[in-house]
């Protein structure tokens, strides 16, 4: 199998590097509420802690997001997945893949790591039930070769959750 996996990614372009440096500075000055990122020496992969918002199903639960930046960020979307264990949520698969349009077709360079984080927390907060997507097992089986969620052709039906 030759499906391109996340490990084959290229280094950040110069312009991507500059942009990420600026996002990092901005993040350190005002991190989005509920998120914690410990700066590492790897600008291309951020591991970000997220704490469920008070008064929601995920209150006080801590999860970790892994954000990988492609060579041509921000023209291309970052790859964002939940690390194991991923929160139980109707749009989050057990392998950590997140069904959220802004991570794929609706990504735009007008967004930032910070705004993506806020969208993900809002998706968690508005959930009314802790469960996996109905087709979780089939989807996860399909991704068994370490396929990136960016290679999935997603369909988005529900703006509310």
């Amino acid at each position: 199998m030759t499906s391109s996996s996340t490990s084959s990614r290229k280094n950040l372009s110069k312009i991507a590097c500059n942009r990420l440096q600026k996002e990092l500075t901005e993040w350190q000055a005002s991190p989005p509420a509920g998120f914690n990122y410990k700066v590492s020496d790897n600008l291309q992969r951020w591991v970000i802690e997220v704490v469920g918002a008070p008064g929601t199903l995920y209150a006080n639960e801590t999860y970790r997001l892994q954000v990988d930046f492609p060579e041509h960020y921000p023209m291309e979307a970052p790859q964002v997945i939940f690390m194991n264990p991923a929160p139980m949520h109707p749009h989050i698969y057990s392998n950590g893949h997140i069904c959220l349009d802004i991570l794929y077709d609706s990504w735009s360079p007008a967004m930032t790591v910070s705004s993506v984080c806020i969208s993900i927390l809002s998706m968690l907060s508005s959930s009314t039930v802790k469960q996996r997507p109905e087709d979780n097992d089939r989807y996860v089986k399909n991704c068994r070769n370490g396929r990136s969620p960016k290679e999935t052709r997603w369909w988005f039906h529900d703006d509310k959750v």
Partner: protein, 298 residues
């Protein structure tokens, strides 16, 4: 042209009323590899911006097709000599505008127009700030476009030739950044006049103005229609002519080709152009359903 992923050819059906998400499985890796290599080939066949071709090359496309289109192309040939194609990747309007505008500036060495447009660009920058966009999200795109404006003026160390302009417009790291610059400017212009654009947007998508900008203006590859063109033309103060080539015919029997001029409000018109030019935009794009190319007058 929409070269967005074609709607699935490999079986899996979407849940229309599913509980949220859907996805399409690629059970067969070989099919997937093959499909993606076809897409790559298709895309690579045509650069972002092609070479200038005689208008006859347009007719050649329809040789065994619709007679009415061939008739219309004959009419078109009375006014236009050549066509420059753009890649059908959803960015063709912006890409065509980019090339056409910079080419005009380079050929006319129109410094007054550059000074004029810079004022509008700064206005767009302020508009984005006011709308709450973080500076870091758009500043690189603004910087890069402003550099292109400087570089087309000759006699400087950084000056570029026409040939170099063609190369840059085919270079992703320049071309896509300029396209994205226009997307930012367009988005700000729409949101700044949201009461004006709202009825058009509601008619198109039934979403809010802000949501429209987030989903149909700001992401790369989202196609443009009259809302985008009106907004960009107004924001930059640059008139744009769009010539329509489609199968429609009038009952009276005669074949004619329609065009529409997008004219920014009067005080924003390029000051350098004479009064006659005001009626004739220096940018002409050929629209065929779903796609824009560049046209050159005789």
């Amino acid at each position: 042209m929409r070269n967005k992923e074609p709607v699935l050819d490999d079986g899996e059906v979407v849940y229309e009323d599913g509980p949220g998400c859907g996805w399409n499985a690629f059970e067969d890796e070989d099919v997937m590899q093959q499909t993606s290599s076809i897409h790559d080939d298709e895309a690579k066949k045509l650069p972002y911006v092609g070479d200038k071709e005689p208008l006859s090359s347009l007719a050649a496309e329809y040789q065994s097709g619709s007679p009415i289109l061939l008739e219309k192309i004959k009419v078109l040939a009375e006014q236009y000599a050549s066509i420059r194609r753009t890649r059908g990747d959803g960015n063709c309007f912006f890409r065509g505008f980019m090339f056409s505008y910079l080419e005009h500036l380079l050929e006319a060495q129109d410094k007054a127009e550059i000074d004029r447009v810079k004022v509008n660009i700064e206005r767009s920058r302020k508009a984005l700030q006011t709308l709450g966009y973080a500076e870091l999200t758009f500043e690189d795109f603004f910087t890069l476009f402003l550099e292109q404006l400087e570089d087309v003026i000759q006699g400087k160390e950084t000056s570029i030739s026409h040939e170099e302009l063609v190369l840059r417009s085919r270079d992703q790291s320049v071309s896509d950044y300029v396209v994205m610059f226009f997307r930012f400017v367009t988005s700000a212009a729409i949101q700044n006049r949201s009461e004006f654009f709202e009825p058009f947007i509601m008619g198109l998508t039934n979403t809010t103005v802000e949501q429209f900008c987030k989903s149909a203006v700001e992401p790369m590859g989202e196609e443009s229609d009259h809302v985008h063109i009106t907004a960009l033309s107004d924001a930059l103060g640059v008139p744009i002519r769009v010539v329509y080539l489609d199968r429609s015919s009038c009952d009276t029997g005669g074949v004619s080709v329609n065009h529409h001029d997008f004219i920014p409000s009067a005080d924003d018109l390029p000051s350098s152009s004479g009064s006659s030019e005001k009626k004739n935009p220096f940018i002409t794009l050929l629209y065929r359903p779903g796609h824009y190319d560049i046209l050159y007058p005789n």
